[in-house]
């Protein structure tokens, strides 16, 4: 009986949230009073397995195969099914990454069990896990319990656990190699190298002040209002994804998990609800101000200063006051 953590790396470098999942695994194994294994999947993963073995783990499971050099849902699901068959874990924990969105539901469906995705918290009652998930775009939280036969599979949201709290072991954990047979036809997809679309490359990461607009701005004709505020504050203009998707601002001004990550001194969120995919890109800001007409908007959970109001009333006044003080 064990807990299994599945790590993620890209061409030999850890995905930064892998160690957060290890930290979650250590908590779970302690609460469930069982052993903890961590898996690393890929091609030539000996170095990574050795690095992982420094953590406090019962063992590291390395699944190494040339066909696993690049991620594929078929290949990685087969590798992890093998690990599940071998270890018979009660709980399998993943970091909630885009790769895991692609992989874990398939793995769970193929073993016929639950995948509790994107947990922001975890607690235990009678040795059984209860996961906390955001629902309704973060407006509510839910306690979700896996049902049915194990292994139960779950993933933890970026930032929900602290990578630094993943403890090192007294000595290196043993590394076990699991061999899998993968033929040519077993992986049905072909994947290319990652690329970025050619872009003007506005680098917002150096900006000290960012004024960011969301769907609350309503139409492209209102963007100049936010622009005026950004100018008055000497800051940069940025946006949530729907604004960039609609072409109201260029893609390179998008903040969030699929855009840029910023940590300015001041982040002013205008009409942004505060969905997690946006928040991960700006929660490191020193001071966060939110203007939103809905007092229940999740953006207020991370704001230092909150203004529950219509942005079309407040923003012109901010511009006006800034103009007077010049």
């Amino acid at each position: 009986m064990s807990v299994l953590v599945v790590t993620e790396h890209h061409r030999g470098t850890w995905h930064r949230i892998s160690m957060e999942a290890v930290a979650a695994g250590q908590q779970a194994a302690q609460a469930m009073q069982c052993s903890l294994a961590a898996a690393v999947v890929g091609s030539d993963v000996g170095g990574l397995a050795g690095d992982l073995a420094r953590k406090r783990l019962s063992e590291v499971v390395a699944i190494d195969h040339p066909q696993l050099a690049a991620y594929s849902a078929d290949g990685y699901a087969a590798a992890l099914r093998k690990a599940i068959d071998d270890l018979r874990p009660r709980l399998v924990l993943f970091p909630h990454t885009y790769q895991v969105r692609d992989l874990a539901p398939k793995l769970a469906a193929s073993v016929g069990t639950a995948f509790v995705s994107d947990a922001v918290g975890m607690r235990f009652e009678g040795g059984e896990p209860i996961f906390v998930r955001q629902m309704f775009q973060g407006k509510l939280h839910a306690d979700v319990v896996p049902r049915g036969a194990p292994p139960h599979i779950a993933s933890v949201q970026s930032g929900a656990f602290r990578a630094e709290s993943a403890a090192d072991g007294d000595g290196p954990a043993p590394v076990r190699r699991l061999a899998i047979a993968l033929g040519e036809g077993d992986v049905r997809s072909q994947t290319g190298q990652p690329y970025q679309d050619a872009k003007d490359a506005v680098d917002l990461s150096a900006a000290k002040i960012i004024v960011s607009v969301g769907r609350g701005i309503r139409e492209p004709g209102n963007i100049p209002l936010a622009e005026a505020l950004a100018r008055a504050l000497g800051g940069e203009l940025a946006a949530s994804r729907p604004i960039c998707d609609s072409g109201w601002l260029p893609l390179d001004r998008q903040i969030g998990s699929s855009g840029q990550t910023v940590s300015p001194d001041l982040y002013l969120a205008l009409g942004i609800s505060g969905a997690i995919q946006h928040v991960v890109g700006m929660k490191g800001s020193k001071t966060i101000v939110a203007v939103n007409k809905d007092s229940g908007a999740p953006i207020f959970e991370i704001a230092d200063y909150g203004i529950v109001a219509d942005l079309f009333d407040v923003v012109p006044k901010l511009v006006e006051v800034l103009g007077e003080s010049d």
Partner: protein
């Protein structure tokens, strides 16, 4: 090409979410509903592929009676027909049961491509599409931003983290989960709305489909999240609030 598009009806974005009496789901009386946003992009992508390659677009939903308005909207935009899986005992169905229901309905017909949204705006598990693919034995790719169909293959642009992308090629038949923003969705025309009334909607109950109804996960309790940070709320007229904020940013936070 036979294309199935899974569309879910969700509460509209501005609806006030209210936890119901037993604290385990939300009340859905007196609120407006709409089609889950990524699913509208999935439907548009299906319609464009049909316009290019010929074939048929079938909109599929699992949900209560009110979800028929989501199907009508899809038919008005151009879907050829619809499938409605309806069963009131399934109001709390998890992703596994929902995918099983969709698989049972779609699996009994020939299919070349199944499109879903990447995630719902309500429960937001972000997994129903991938489970459905596995149940039907199809290859899948997620968070798709472009699809090119040719020579029995789908060449797709898959979104990765932090502004990166990757090309994924899959053999037909396949399932793809669509990201918002992949295209510009069309509006239903008056003509489309008229025509939709005559398009066939096939209805199934869970008994018709004979699906496994054992839940794999359950919501125990739904509640307001706790405040992570101590937010200072500023109140007053717009002018007062503006004055307060700027003075706080200058003298308290010292960031401007």
């Amino acid at each position: 090409m036979k294309i199935f598009v899974c569309v879910k009806q969700v509460m509209s974005r501005d609806a006030a979410v209210r936890v119901d009496g037993d604290g385990s789901w939300v009340r859905d009386d007196g609120v407006a509903f709409e089609t889950n946003e990524p699913d509208t992009f999935a439907l548009e992508e299906g319609l464009r592929l049909r316009e290019k390659h010929g074939g048929e677009v079938v909109a599929v939903t699992a949900g209560p009676a009110r979800a028929s308005s989501t199907l009508r909207e899809a038919l008005a935009k151009g879907a050829d027909r619809a499938i409605h899986i309806q069963d009131n005992r399934f109001a709390r169905a998890d992703t596994h049961i929902t995918a099983a229901a969709l698989a049972a309905a779609i699996g009994r017909e020939p299919h070349d491509l199944i499109l879903t949204g990447l995630q719902s705006d309500d429960a937001g598990y972000g997994q129903t599409g991938v489970i459905l693919a596995e149940m039907l034995g199809l290859p899948h790719a997620t968070i798709i931003m472009k699809i090119e169909a040719s020579g029995g293959q789908f060449r797709c642009k898959r979104e990765l983290e932090a502004g990166w992308f990757q090309t994924v090629t899959l053999p037909q038949p396949a399932l793809l989960t669509i990201q918002s923003g992949i295209n510009k969705v069309r509006y239903a025309t008056l003509m489309g709305i008229k025509k939709a009334r005559r398009k066939p909607v096939r209805r199934y109950s869970s008994a018709d489909l004979g699906i496994d109804t054992q839940p794999r996960q359950e919501v125990q309790r739904l509640y307001q999240p706790q405040q992570g940070k101590q937010t200072e709320f500023l109140e007053g007229s717009a002018r007062e609030v503006a004055d307060q904020l700027l003075s706080k940013l200058r003298f308290e936070a010292r960031v401007i």
